[in-house]
Symmetry: C2
Subunit: 351 residues, 2 copies
């Protein structure tokens, strides 16, 4: 890949400011906890896996800032920092999962010891998370690549690419691997209002990779399906419940309904860390609502009358019955997902 959405180098956390893409590729340094919190909240870094990785390194940024003198103070600081970072975005489970991994890092020692070994262990855990995420993206891509035949038309929504993870992506990783296997195909990218992650990020990533991509508005998806241009849909997800219900960027549910109506298979690509077995189904996944101005003043220009009421849910839940398969690092899982998504997956990684 030609870019690193999240980078940790000699104790410095750097990210691509994704709000500036595609016209500017700006790397920014996050050297305070506030800067990390703001970057996640403002979607400078976004995508469920990338948020998790950034938050894990964000714990280290917070520790560097606080300079706790003792092991006890450092443990307390991790709790406080993780609690704070957890308030950024409610829907993606990877955020909570990554912070939980940082919380459970432990080293032996008494409360008054210097925290040196503990901080090293925290850094090791964040790095492990980062590396696992890269490996998982690759495994997901390899698991799903055979779904895209030569000459296919693929629709995707929002951005589940290398920018949404720390490397290969999820839905886009499947496309990258299909390309690597020598197949040519065309991707239709929904622009994905209000924040246009499809227009700004997905088209950019696919262009960089030399994959044939066509941008459409969200409301054109039905038409391209009707014209026979789409053979399959692949999207990412921010949280998947135990029965396979999948929360993803607003509009995904509509795409799934349209795919069903046109007999087009609909796939969700995720690392297993996106699974939330604590939820039996999608009805209790918290759905973030965002500010009206994202819709009414989207790009510096007012496009709706003053004072108009706005409904701006950032996610929706696609029910499992609309999902043909879930592409994970363990292979392509098929319905019934309550069985195939079982909490103790086989160890092997499908190729």
């Amino acid at each position: 890949m030609k870019f690193d959405p999240v980078r940790w180098d000699k104790g410095t956390l750097t990210i691509i400011d994704q709000t500036q893409l595609p016209t500017r590729l700006d790397y920014i340094t996050l050297d305070t906890l506030d800067a990390v919190w703001d970057a996640i909240k403002q979607l400078k870094v976004r995508g469920a896996p990338a948020i998790g990785v950034c938050a894990a390194f964000g714990v280290l940024v917070g520790i560097q800032q606080r300079q706790p003198a003792t092991l006890q103070a450092a443990r307390h600081a991790v709790t406080v920092i993780a609690d704070h970072l957890a308030t950024t975005r409610p829907t993606a489970v990877n955020l909570f999962w990554a912070l939980e991994r940082m919380r459970t890092v432990s080293v032996s020692g008494s409360d008054d010891d210097a925290p040196t070994r503990y901080v090293e262990a925290l850094e090791q855990e964040a790095r492990a998370l980062f590396e696992e995420d890269q490996a998982l993206g690759l495994a997901i891509g390899k698991a799903g690549a055979s779904l895209i035949p030569e000459g296919a038309g693929v629709l995707t929504h929002c951005n589940a690419g290398g920018l949404a993870t720390s490397g290969h992506g999820t839905a886009l990783s499947v496309m990258f691997q299909a390309q690597k296997a020598g197949r040519r195909f065309r991707v239709y990218a929904d622009e994905t209002r209000p924040l246009l992650q499809g227009a700004r990020l997905t088209t950019w990533e696919l262009q960089q990779a030399g994959i044939d991509v066509t941008l459409i508005c969200d409301n054109m998806a039905a038409q391209v399906m009707r014209e026979g241009k789409i053979d399959l849909v692949i999207v990412g997800a921010d949280r998947v419940a135990a029965n396979g219900d999948a929360a993803n960027k607003i509009g995904t549910y509509g795409v799934a309904v349209l795919a069903k109506a046109h007999n087009i298979p609909f796939y969700v690509a995720i690392p297993r860390s996106t699974l939330d077995f604590s939820l039996p189904d999608g009805s209790s996944i918290p759905i973030e609502e965002r500010a009206a101005e994202e819709i009414t003043h989207g790009f510096g220009l007012q496009t709706a009358p003053d004072g108009v009421a706005v409904y701006n849910p950032a996610f929706d839940v696609t029910p499992a019955e609309l999902i043909t398969g879930i592409i994970t690092e363990s292979g392509i899982l098929t319905p019934p997902f309550t069985e195939s998504l079982n909490p103790s997956p086989p160890e092997q990684v499908a190729s």
Copy 2:
């Protein structure tokens, strides 16, 4: 209504420049044929009925500019002007229908006579078109108003309001008349990418009328339906074929599929002049494709990478089987539309 989208006063054609709404209510004078052509092409005036009325007056603007000296020259000028205005936008049938009415205006006299009476007859025809359009909008509203019960949630797409016609509108006229009958209800307005007619125009008109309106992005329609917020959908159309297939703003077809999937009735509101009996079904309705920049540089800001491929169909066709009823000045027509849309409708206007 508090505004006139098209106005003809003492030989001067004035329109609201709808590209400036909702932040500015600018009336502009169209005093050359080029200005009329440009206003229709650039969607300064838009909506199938309003385009027809504007084009009819546009013929007069062209005649004023050319000042033909003889009846023969004036007849020739009308043909040339109408041919030119017909090249603005291909999908809406009202444009061609209105121009055809102007072409068929005739007065007796020899070729060398002064064209005074002919020009008067042309003006009379354009005025008649304008007045009929206003009356039709009111009749459509009255015909459909009973479909909206107290407390209902109504979804609409694009703008089929007073701005799209010369007064009451079509889909919005139904809402205005339901309100006039004393019922309160909530409208969800799709913003309607790429040109945001829903965000800019529909919310503005409904706000002006004191109707409760909530703006959503197009990709949120499925979610508000799933949340049980929508009891019916009402949209306009730009051309309806003999079997009821309805061409309307891109995204309408997707809304119709979603409505079907959620068991929500889907209505199309049109004047009968939108019917095109020359087409047995929607497959041969020409679909205008517009410039990529409407999507990639929509808000004055670049939101997609340089050189990305774009597909930008401006309309789609909703097949008759997804349409619960067609609201016309003759009442609410129900399937099978090949029968109910017969070319010789009963004379009475439903109330």
